[in-house]
């Protein structure tokens, strides 16, 4: 009974010694992997360290000990502190523990091998939060009964999945907008007497594409072919993720106006540039300075997949010349035809369709944190434009036959300039004032239809490592003005409710982005 505490203490010491030997061995293994010049690991050999102090029989082989050393239990037996039986007991416990440890290591190895094959650890599957945005808006406009001028909403709830399959298939990508559960409308074929479109289907995803890089050595000059649905390479804003935008509202170049069109071609909702579309294109970069895209698209917005509309195709191309890594100037064009029947884009008519855009961004290296960018766009929409759900069929101005707005083809023009400055030190560190001014002219041939907006705001970044992480609070005030819906047309498209594009607005948005 008196011996047991000693045995326990010795066992503890021995255990510690064994563990420390394991650690030493592990380090040695690491060293070995590092190259041929590393010192060899300690070799564990069994050694007899002399006769047993009180035994006549040959002692069992001594435990594994490092070269030039001896084990504690051997030493204790040599000094007569422990008996041979105790020595055997200690060794048995060591062997048992060693066996258990080996089993655990084997199990860990097995799980490590399995874990290493998981797609998420091999870059084949990744997921992230593209943008989760909480929005508060206030607008001094008349609102219908039961509504408020103050609104809380979730602006975006976008989960992103992507991965890399191989060198040839360098990326797949899909983005889910969890608010995309509303049924989408279509634009029926017919005259003004035809029944309006009925919402029938929805698109849960907003983006889904895959890249093919056929020849590695061609990249980045011919980098990859991309097909699917994604943000279109039309200027800057259209292609900027909702989780990285500097102001809360989308610019007028993507969408402006409300209600239905009239014969001036300047009224109603106009989606001048759709943000997303179905396409196939080729992308690359020359001289590390000149980026290009050329492709063909459906030209019928992201909803086309759900409503089944396959519109006349359009060609598009953009060249972007970089002055530095983050400053550039680019030219974009879109050429094709559009149709008003079965369209999923507001403000499109039947006939020739084109867009020309020039954009620039200057990110200062002299004044770090300062950035200015701008875009100017002009383009033609065919005659008899319509809004989604309003029947249309053809380019004539007889609405009983061709439906739509009855307007002739129009030339539209829009531009904006945005500047911001991120404060990087001092008490206002991570604050970013921003200002933007924009104009949208729905019909360049007539007056009294201009939309203008000035946005002033400030952002505060809690985390700012774009494009991966961006958590921020944005506060914007928008000074909005709308001249009218063309000569002799009322400004208020929805009488009694007010024109939201002629009323100032206050917006606060809190965002998290992580991937």
């Amino acid at each position: 009974m008196e011996i047991r505490p000693s045995v326990a203490s010795i066992s503890g010491l021995v255990g510690t010694a064994v563990l420390s030997l394991c650690v030493t061995t592990s380090w040695a293994d690491n060293t070995t992997r590092q190259g041929p010049m590393a010192s060899p690991p300690h070799i564990m050999v069994a050694q007899a360290m002399g006769p047993a102090p009180n035994g006549t029989a040959t002692p069992p082989p001594a435990p594994e000990i490092p070269l030039g050393g001896t084990s504690i239990e051997d030493l204790l037996m040599q000094k007569g502190t422990i008996t041979k039986e105790e020595w055997i007991q200690i060794r048995a416990e060591q062997e048992y523990k060693g066996g258990e440890r080996d089993k655990r290591v084997d199990t860990l190895d097995e799980w490590k091998s399995k874990a290493e094959l998981l797609p998420i650890l091999r870059d084949k599957v990744n997921f992230g939060l593209n943008a989760l945005q909480w929005l508060y808006t206030h607008q001094d406009a008349h609102v219908p009964e039961g509504r408020s001028q103050d609104n809380f909403s979730i602006r975006r709830s976008e989960i992103l999945f992507w991965g890399r399959i191989s060198d040839t298939l360098p990326r797949w990508h899909t983005l889910m907008e969890f608010q995309s559960i509303n049924l989408l409308n279509n634009t029926p074929t017919g005259g003004s007497a035809a029944t309006g479109g009925v919402p029938t289907s929805s698109t849960f995803f907003r983006e889904a594409y895959l890249d093919i890089r056929p020849v590695q050595s061609w990249a980045p000059n011919v980098n990859y072919f991309r097909m699917g649905i994604f943000r279109m390479p039309f200027g800057i804003f259209t292609e900027t993720s909702g989780g990285l935008r500097d102001v809360i509202s989308s610019p007028y170049l993507t969408s402006v106006g409300s209600g239905v069109g009239n014969r001036t071609g300047s009224a109603g909702t106009i989606d001048f540039l759709q943000e997303r579309d179905y396409f196939l294109d080729m992308r690359g970069k020359l001289l590390n300075r000149l980026e290009y895209v050329a492709g063909i698209m459906n030209n019928n917005n992201y909803t086309a997949n759900a409503t089944g509309s396959n519109a006349p195709k359009s060609f598009y191309s953009r060249v972007r010349l970089f002055g530095s890594d983050v400053s550039f100037i680019s030219f974009t064009t879109i050429q094709g035809e559009s149709n008003n029947a079965n369209t999923n884009i507001n403000g499109r008519g039947k006939g020739a369709f084109d867009r020309y855009g020039l954009d620039f961004r200057y990110t200062s290296k002299i004044l770090p944190g300062f950035m200015i960018q701008g875009e100017i766009w002009q383009g033609h929409d065919g005659a008899n434009q319509t809004t989604i759900g309003r029947p249309a069929n053809g380019a004539c101005d007889v609405q009983t036959i061709c439906g739509g707005s009855g307007a002739p083809g129009v030339q539209r023009r829009t531009w904006y300039v945005l500047a911001k400055y991120l404060i990087t030190d001092g008490p206002l560190e991570n604050f970013e004032p921003v200002v933007m001014y924009e104009q949208f002219d729905p019909n360049t041939r007539i007056g009294n239809d201009l939309y203008t907006r000035t946005i002033v705001g400030v952002s505060y970044y809690f985390e700012n490592f774009p494009p991966k992480v961006q958590s921020k609070l944005q506060v914007n005030y928008e000074f909005r003005h709308h001249s009218g819906n063309g000569p002799n047309n009322v400004v208020d498209p929805t009488r009694g409710v007010g024109d939201p594009f002629a009323q100032n607005a206050f917006l606060v948005q809190w965002q998290i982005r992580f991937m």
Binding site: Q34, G35, A38, E158, L160, R171, F230, I236, L286, V326
Partner: protein, 179 residues
């Protein structure tokens, strides 16, 4: 008229063909004297035997504290690829860590872990540094120039369409004042 057209065509072809060549981010003066056959693995094993060599190494930032105008950067060595995008690539397994000293100021966001770096400098003796609370002896390099891609851990080739949208990749070259 035909002459002009031919000239424009030849110029365009020249631009395209010149774009097919390997990308250069450092000047010839900076690259002068760089050992093209430098054996990183051997240097890492016996750093003190290969001091004073001018080398070019690519890597990924593990940690990069900056103090008193000195950046002490621990990098995981990565091979430098030409395709699909020029720069250090993580598609192959790294061959170990090394240390880079750089005299100069670098914006904090360019020093975030995961960023890709190419360093040109002279090898020094090994230095003991603390990495995640453990002491490590690493071969060291005193950099004359650095080129940093602000990828935040992603591949250079993943840009500009990393995430859901377009985001140009920030990259910058830093050289010591003597350069």
């Amino acid at each position: 008229m035909k002459t002009y057209r031919s000239a424009i065509l030849i110029t365009l072809i020249g631009i395209v063909l010149s774009g097919c060549g390997p990308e250069r981010i450092f000047s010839a003066k900076v690259l002068d004297g760089v050992d093209p056959n430098f054996d990183f693995a051997a240097w890492r094993m016996v750093p003190n035997a290969k001091g004073g060599k001018k080398v070019q190494l690519g890597g990924r930032i593990v940690q990069a504290p900056q103090k008193d105008g000195l950046v002490t950067m621990v990098l995981t060595q990565l091979p430098i690829a030409e395709h699909p995008a020029y720069g250090p690539t993580d598609r192959e397994r790294g061959r170990g860590e090394f240390l880079v000293y750089f005299n100069g100021k670098i914006p904090t966001n360019h020093l975030q872990p995961g960023n890709r770096v190419i360093a040109i400098g002279t090898t020094q003796n090994a230095v003991v540094v603390a990495i995640e609370d453990s002491q490590r002896s690493l071969p060291a390099l005193t950099a004359q120039c650095l080129h940093i891609w602000n990828t935040g851990g992603k591949e250079i080739a993943d840009f500009p369409n990393f995430g859901a949208g377009y985001q140009p990749l920030e990259e910058e070259t830093y050289c010591t004042e003597s350069r």
